[in-house]
């Protein structure tokens, strides 16, 4: 209980959802993936993270949900100072963050419904609440009728929608998506974008790393370009800005 109350105190009243100050990340193999990053992302924003492969996009994203720790500098997400976050509190921190991956990361041995319900079971929600919220969320992503199927019986786009449903079912304040359309064809990608826009309209911050030029240029949002571990460009309603 004392941990929980400490937790509440950490959450501040300002509008900063994600804040990075002089963040450096050097991997043990000598690669510097973050080379002095300063950034503010406010609550309710939709942000694209773009840049060439190997420029540090992935590390930038991973540091936000504490998959990677910054070597120096401070990162605050949802008011929590990640450099001071103890390992055992990482799971609790992640309950306020939805993460979506390129490879979906679904459990293929259990149904679509169970995959989404999983995120609520781990936080010991009441079964009635779980049922209600899972069905609502599956409806939002348009998969209510496939709730009993296994992920392997769905198309790639549908699997990604399950993954998004799982990431938002416990109403996180921020959804972090790492190349969510990377494995999908253009048409399916637009379907995924529609859902992410919808989530954003409901007030959730969305941070999305992407290589999809068409999407970035058409659905205009803030663009942060990362090159050589630094922020090369930070532009409201920006363009993709690269060739491919």
């Amino acid at each position: 209980m004392s941990n929980d109350s400490q937790w509440e105190n950490n959450i501040q009243g300002d509008n900063n959802m994600i804040e990075m100050k002089d963040v450096y990340k050097k991997y043990p193999n000598g690669v510097t993936a973050a080379n002095g990053i300063n950034v503010h992302i406010e609550q309710g924003e939709f942000v694209y993270v773009v840049g060439p492969s190997g420029a540090g996009k992935s590390t930038f994203i991973k540091m936000m949900y504490r998959e990677e720790k910054a070597t120096t500098g401070t990162i605050k997400v949802n008011g929590v100072d990640l450099s001071k976050l103890k390992n055992k509190n990482v799971p609790i921190f992640r309950r306020n963050i939805g993460v979506v991956f390129q490879d979906f990361k679904l459990l293929n041995s259990i149904s679509v419904y169970d995959n989404v319900a999983f995120a609520l079971e781990v936080i010991e929600e009441h079964p009635t609440t779980i049922r209600k919220r899972v069905l609502e969320t599956l409806e939002l992503v348009g998969l209510k009728h496939k709730a009993r199927m296994l992920p392997t019986e769905l198309s790639g786009g549908e699997q990604q929608r399950v993954s998004i449903a799982r990431s938002i079912v416990n109403s996180p304040k921020v959804v972090i998506a790492d190349e969510p359309t990377g494995n999908l064809d253009p048409e399916t990608s637009w379907g995924i974008m529609k859902i992410l826009e919808e989530i954003n309209l409901r007030g959730t911050t969305v941070v999305m790393a992407t290589h999809n030029k068409e999407i970035v240029n058409k659905n205009k949002h803030r663009v942060i370009a990362i090159e050589g571990g630094k922020i090369a460009r930070d532009q409201q309603k920006g363009d993709y800005g690269y060739e491919s």
């Binding site: 504490r66 390992n87 055992k88 990482v90 799971p91 609790i92 921190f93 992640r94 309950r95 993460v99 990361k105 679904l106 459990l107 041995s109 999983f118 995120a119 079971e121 781990v122 936080i123 010991e124 079964p127 799982r166 416990n170």
Partner: protein
Amino acid sequence: MKARTFRRHVKESFKSLGRNSWMTVASVSSVTVTLLLVGVFFVIMMNLNSVATSIEEDVEIRVHIDVAANDEDREVLKQQIGGITQVDSIEFSPKEEELDSLIDSFGEEGQAFKLVEQENPLKDVFVVKTKNPTDTINVAKKIESFNYVSSVKYGQGTVESLFKFIDISRNVGLILIIGLLFTAMFLISNTIKITIMARRREIEIMRLVGATNSFIRWPFFLEGLWLGILGSIIPITVVSLAYYYLFDLIQSKLAANNFIKLLEFNPFVFQLSAVLVLIGALIGIWGSLMSVRKFLKV
């Protein structure tokens, strides 16, 4: 933890046994093989131990009382012997009784001794038993020094080597069982490790959606428990049946040797079953928790 969370863990642990059915078979088989070995060994060890104990309990000190001693001297001697802390019981056997049992031991031919009954050459005897059989030698030496003790007999020489033999065989058995258990733990933790490698993804996703380590550990803990219990079923059945049928067979062959007695089927087999289930459960849980541990570090 909430009751329904616990129910979820139980349900989840059963489901996952089914989902990873091949790994379940592999783990259960390795528990089965080990417990079968442990079970057979345990039966042999416990029976040897019980035989050894009954042999030890037959060891007694016979204190021959000097003929010159009168009733009062004898009483003093009895109190002196009773004063030794390791002494458990003292029984007085008058020389007439001694002669009777000697004559009995000769059977038919012994009847010839009836004639000499008037002039009994034997002495009165105190039969002394010690609380712990291994104290026999020390106690005997003490008694020898008392007044009116003509001689002290406890099977000098034989008893010393008997105790030594029993001691060695007990230690060897214990070392073998411990060695076997370690091998078992190694075997099982490796098997479970393989099953968990395959479930890395599951653990990764659980962590991702905010499951605490203890939440992740519970189903694995229970799964290890079930694996251990499942693995003990065949060994218990086999060893119990074997003991049931071999008991009569061996016992009848040993009947001539009246001091060797096997442990009774009931309660021994039930104690054995409890021990095997317990060992199975412990190594199952241990193996399971050991292998999940490395995936829980952030």
